[in-house]
Symmetry: C2
Subunit: 240 residues, 2 copies
């Protein structure tokens, strides 16, 4: 009987992790397709991204519900508790990532109605590919519980910022040069901001992986063990 309960508990935890991984795959596809839809002015693809977003919302709710049940019924501690709480956090980041992807796709539909804005959409595509790659890397790190790989993503966050800054300047120059493009350019501006935010979520995910695997808070410019704020998840008192 006890054996059975322990096994089912492990299964539940594995299932939770698997659902987060699945949600990650979906979010990754949404972002990649959103960028593709903008780059190719593909209205059908853009609509598909918008339509598919509800799946991420449903998975988010599902993961949160399962995690809360698991905490309430199984009362996990140490590693298991970290895995459960991390699943909830990651689901929140992935849901937001999906929202941002959907927003990019929506703006893509508006842009597809106007003149092509070639050099600018190519810059968006470039930045989008960089952000997509970071998202893929950090989700691979999650699937493999590889802290080093997660930290590598964390450490290259400034690449996204550089892309954003140069794209921002490019857009301003464009708008000033031809005020008729202002309305379209504000959509591109928000797309760039959304991509930057997706990059931030990838960074958050990297921090969560670090916490899940090591039990330490990820702090500072380089990973380090801060004795003041970091401590392993405590075990429950043995005398209850």
């Amino acid at each position: 009987m006890t054996e059975h309960i322990v096994k089912a508990y492990g299964d539940e935890l594995d299932q939770l992790t698997a659902e987060v991984a699945r949600m990650g795959g979906l979010a990754e596809a949404q972002v990649a397709d959103a960028i593709e839809s903008v780059a190719r002015r593909d209205v059908a693809l853009g609509r598909a991204v918008i339509e598919r977003d509800h799946k991420l919302d449903a998975l988010h709710r599902e993961i949160e519900k399962k995690a809360i049940r698991l905490i309430a019924l199984r009362q996990p501690v140490a590693t298991d508790l970290r895995r459960t709480l991390s699943a909830m956090k990651l689901a929140t980041d992935l849901e937001r990532t999906g929202d941002l992807g959907k927003n990019i796709a929506k703006r893509g539909l508006v842009l597809a109605e106007g003149e092509p804005m070639q050099p600018l959409t190519r810059s968006i595509e470039r930045m989008g590919k960089l952000v997509s790659m970071r998202l893929r890397d950090v989700l691979d790190a999650y699937a493999a519980s590889e802290v080093d790989r997660a930290i590598a993503v964390w450490n290259t966050d400034d690449e996204v910022d550089e892309h954003y800054n140069s794209l921002f300047r490019e857009l301003l120059t464009y708008m000033m040069g031809d005020p008729r493009t202002i309305s379209a350019c504000t959509h591109l501006l928000f797309m760039a901001k959304n991509l930057e935010r997706i990059g931030d979520h990838a960074t958050n995910i990297a921090e969560t992986i670090y916490y899940e695997v090591t039990g330490q808070e990820f702090i500072g410019e380089r990973p380090r063990w801060n004795p003041d704020v970091a401590e392993t998840t405590p075990e429950p008192p043995t005398t209850a």
Copy 2:
């Protein structure tokens, strides 16, 4: 001995709630001051907002750490578990709210170096006051555990969207009319977007309060009890 443990446990939970309330007060002040600094072109106030943001980050980390400890050591269930998980969620929303306030203040510093943009900053101020009010209302609802008040905030989210849309149109018109204002206007555009996002966080907070108090997920256009997805937090199995 058991008496003592139970008391300390209740104290810990109360302390957690109090820290979230304190964090809420701080976030509220940050947003209000950020808007004030933009409206009055008050560089000193803007700098104070930016400088104070680290307090919210520290409180966020503190609340998260305490909540995790509480779950691990006390293994709360039902209402207590919901209170604990809600504290973690609210701290995340409030930390992001603070970030957005800081970003508004930073953009305010840039704008203060240029020409005053009177009608536009007044529109930002108006939208900012609306968003601040919603944030205050929802934090009052949290302090008083008043679900109806939280739902009232949730139900008026479209007011913020309306403000945002009209401000967006106003900004586009301004930029097209005078391309020299484009750079300044993009800052105002992002300020408006930040305020809209703060409004979204107030909505999230309302949903979390609803969940904490009722044990139900808040779904749909009006609060309703969905038997398929909502269920009360389960009690642990009695036969362990």
